[in-house]
C-alpha cells in the first residue's frame, strides 16, 4: 500500500481518503512499538467522534492503548476481520490491518495532519528524544 497517499497523526494513526469517507489505521511504527497485537476493541458503527476522542482500543502483549479519532465524524464501518485475526495490524498495518472508516465532518481537519515526509521527520524527532 502506497504510504505516499496517506496522512498521519501525532498519535501514529494513518488516514486515507476514499469516496467521501476516510479509512483509519495505525502506522507501522505504532504496530512495531506495540508488539504483537492480540485484541482490537472496535468502535460501534454510527458512533459520533470528535477529533482526538478515543475511538478504539488496541491490546498487545505489552499494553492496552487507545486509537484516537484523527478527524471528527461518524464511524461508518469497522474491520470485522480483526476480531479473529488481530495480527493483521502487525502484518499489514496499511492494508488488511485497517481499523475503521469514518465520515469526514470537516475537510479542513485533514490539513492538520502530516504527510509522509512530515511524519518521517516527526519520527526522527521521537527517536532523538
Amino acid at each position: 500500500m502506497a504510504q505516499e497517499n496517506l496522512l498521519f497523526s501525532k498519535d501514529h494513526e494513518w488516514v486515507r481518503r476514499e469516496n467521501g469517507t476516510v479509512v483509519v489505521g495505525v502506522t507501522d511504527y505504532a504496530q512495531h512499538e506495540l508488539g504483537d497485537v492480540v485484541f482490537v476493541d472496535l468502535p460501534a458503527v454510527g458512533k459520533e467522534l470528535k477529533k482526538g476522542d478515543p475511538a478504539a482500543n488496541i491490546e498487545s502483549v505489552k499494553a492496552v492503548s487507545d486509537i484516537y479519532a484523527p478527524v471528527s465524524g461518524k464511524v461508518t464501518a469497522v474491520n470485522e476481520k480483526l476480531g479473529s485475526t488481530p495480527e493483521l495490524v502487525n502484518q499489514e498495518p496499511y492494508g488488511q490491518g485497517w481499523v475503521f472508516t469514518m465520515s469526514l465532518a470537516s475537510e479542513s481537519e485533514l490539513d492538520e495532519l502530516m504527510d509522509l515526509k512530515a511524519y518521517e521527520e516527526y519520527l526522527k524527532g521521537i527517536a532523538g528524544e
Partner: protein
C-alpha cells in the same frame, strides 16, 4: 525441580482408589432420592492417596513467593510481612460473627477505630473509612465521595484529570463514578507541573487523580501548588496512596492539600499483595468531606463504640459489614509493633534500597528520568542489544522474580524495580550481580537471552498465541 509434574489424569489407572469405603448395605436408590444420585463422572482420575499428595506438593513447589526469594515487582510493594501478624489475625478471640451485637464485639470495633486513628495520624486526613475491599475499590468510593460533595454544591462536573504516570486503575475508577477520564502529560522532570495542569483546568473539571509517589517512583513535588490551583478552580485533589510505603511517617498528604486519598493495607501494612486477596483500600478525607464517608461508621461515644448505619449525606454502603476485618487486624498489629517512632524507618529504608539499586544499576541501564528516586526506579531498554522482556525472562533462569515490565508506558521498554525495605544489602548485591551477568550475556551472546528461560520447568511461552487463542482446559485426547 526442572520438570513439570505429570497431570493427575495421566497418573490415573482404572481401579486405583485413594480411600476405601465399605460397600453400602442398602442400594443407593433406596437410601437417596433419585435427584441426589449423580451419574459417574467420565475421566475422574483414579489414583492412590500418596499420589494425590505428591501431585499437589509438586504443584506447590512451582510457586514463587517472597518467602522463596527476591520479588522486585515495581509498584507492587512485594515486601516481606512479619509472620506474627498472620498469627494475630488467626487468634480465636478475634473471630466474631458480623451480626454479633455491638456490645459483644467492642474489642473488634476498638481495633477498627484504633487503626482509623493511626491512619488519620499518618496521613493528616480528618477521617477514614476502612470499608473498601481493595485499592481500586477505594478509588471508586473516593470518586463517589467527590461526586457527592460537588453535587451538594450544585454541579457534579464532568471531567477527572489523570497524569500519565498514575496507576492504571485510576481512569477506570473515575469512569465508573460517571466521569470522563482525561489524561494529561507529565513534564520532563517526570512529574505533573502547574503548567501542564493549568492547560487542562476548566469549569468542568471535578478533580485530579494523582498517584504519589508516581509510577516513575518520583515524588510529585508540586503537589501543594497543584492543590491550590485545583481548589481555586473549585476542583478537588484525589491522591492514589497505593505507594504510601515510600511516605509513611515522613509525609502527611492532608497537610499538602489532598482532599481524598486511599491506602492499600495489603501492600503497605502487612497483608501480602497479590494472590487474589483479600485486600483493603481505606479512604481518607479532609474535614469538609467527612459527612460523605460510607456507612457503617464506627464512632466513639464516651467509653463505648457505636456503629452508625444511617447518615443521610453518606454515599451509603460500599461493602457488606465492616470491610475485610482481618486485614485491618494485621495492619494494626504491624503499626503497633513498629511504634510511632519507627514507622518512618520503613519509608526511609524502602527509599534507601531503591536508591542503592539505582546507583548500582544506572551505569548499566538507561535511566530516563533523573529526578530523585523514592520507593522504585524505572530503567529503559534503550541502547541495549536485547529487549526488556528478554532480561525479565533470563532473570527466571537465575531464580529471581522479574521486575515489572513495560509499565509505565511513558518509558520505552520500562523496567520498574521496587526492592522494598525488607531486603538486605546482601540480597540487593546478589540481584545486581545477576543483572551484571545478564547484561554481559546480552552483549556477548544475546540469543541466550532471547531463548530464556532455559532452566525453568516451562520454557519461553508464546504469549501472543496464548493471548490470541487461549486454551484454558486440558481434554483427554487433544494434543497440546
Amino acid at each position: 525441580m526442572n520438570t513439570l509434574p505429570s497431570l493427575i489424569f495421566e497418573r490415573s489407572r482404572d481401579g486405583k482408589i485413594g480411600c476405601g469405603l465399605n460397600d453400602a448395605n442398602v442400594p443407593a436408590e433406596a437410601a437417596l432420592d433419585r435427584e441426589l444420585l449423580r451419574p459417574p463422572i467420565a475421566d475422574f482420575p483414579q489414583v492412590s492417596e500418596v499420589e494425590v499428595v505428591r501431585h499437589y506438593m509438586a504443584l506447590a513447589r512451582l510457586n514463587y513467593s517472597v518467602d522463596a526469594g527476591f520479588y522486585p515487582l515495581g509498584s507492587c510493594t512485594m515486601k516481606y510481612n512479619p509472620k506474627v501478624n498472620e498469627k494475630i489475625a488467626t487468634l480465636e478471640e478475634l473471630q466474631a460473627h458480623p451480626y454479633a451485637p455491638h456490645d459483644l464485639v467492642q474489642g473488634n470495633l476498638e481495633i477498627i477505630t484504633r487503626l482509623e486513628e493511626w491512619l488519620v495520624e499518618l496521613t493528616g486526613m480528618a477521617g477514614f473509612t476502612l470499608a473498601p475491599a481493595a485499592g481500586a475499590h477505594g478509588e471508586f468510593a473516593g470518586m463517589l465521595i467527590i461526586r457527592r460533595c460537588l453535587q451538594e454544591r450544585g454541579d457534579p462536573r464532568k471531567i477527572v484529570l489523570i497524569p500519565d504516570s498514575a496507576h492504571g486503575t485510576n481512569p477506570a475508577s473515575a469512569h465508573f463514578a460517571g466521569y470522563e477520564a482525561r489524561q494529561i502529560p507529565s513534564n520532563a522532570r517526570g512529574i505533573l507541573g502547574r503548567k501542564e495542569l493549568r492547560a487542562h483546568l476548566g469549569p468542568d473539571v471535578a478533580a485530579l487523580m494523582m498517584t504519589n509517589p508516581n509510577t516513575l517512583g518520583i515524588f510529585e513535588s508540586d503537589i501543594a501548588a497543584i492543590a491550590e490551583d485545583l481548589h481555586a478552580n473549585g476542583s478537588l485533589l484525589y491522591m492514589d496512596g497505593a505507594n504510601f510505603n515510600a511516605l509513611m511517617g515522613v509525609v502527611r498528604p492532608g497537610e499538602l492539600g489532598v482532599d481524598v486519598m486511599h491506602l492499600n493495607l495489603h501492600k503497605t501494612f502487612s497483608t501480602p499483595h497479590g494472590g487474589g486477596g483479600p485486600g483493603s483500600g481505606p479512604v481518607g478525607v479532609a474535614a469538609p468531606l467527612l459527612p460523605y464517608l460510607p456507612v457503617p461508621r464506627v464512632l466513639r461515644e464516651g467509653e463505648r463504640l457505636k456503629v452508625v448505619y444511617d447518615d443521610p449525606r453518606s454515599i451509603g454502603r460500599v461493602k457488606n459489614f465492616y470491610g475485610h476485618f482481618l486485614v485491618m487486624v494485621r495492619a494494626l498489629a504491624y503499626l503497633m509493633a513498629l511504634g510511632r517512632e519507627h514507622v518512618a524507618r520503613v519509608a526511609e529504608d524502602a527509599v534507601l534500597n531503591a536508591n542503592y539499586l539505582r546507583k548500582r544499576l544506572e551505569g548499566l541501564l538507561e535511566l530516563p528520568y533523573q529526578a530523585p528516586t523514592l520507593h522504585e526506579v524505572v530503567f529503559s531498554d534503550q541502547g541495549l542489544p536485547v529487549k526488556t522482556l528478554d532480561i525479565a525472562k533470563r532473570l527466571l533462569d537465575y531464580g529471581c522474580h522479574p521486575f515489572t515490565v513495560y509499565f509505565p508506558l511513558i518509558v520505552h521498554g520500562a523496567m520498574m524495580i521496587e526492592p522494598t525495605e525488607t531486603e538486605s544489602k546482601e540480597t540487593l548485591d546478589e540481584f545486581v550481580g545477576v543483572m551484571e551477568t545478564i547484561l554481559g550475556e546480552a552483549r556477548d551472546n544475546p540469543d541466550l537471552l532471547r531463548q530464556a528461560p532455559t532452566r525453568t520447568p516451562v520454557r519461553r511461552l508464546d504469549e501472543t498465541l496464548a493471548a490470541r487463542r487461549p486454551l484454558l482446559r486440558w481434554r483427554r485426547g487433544e494434543d497440546h
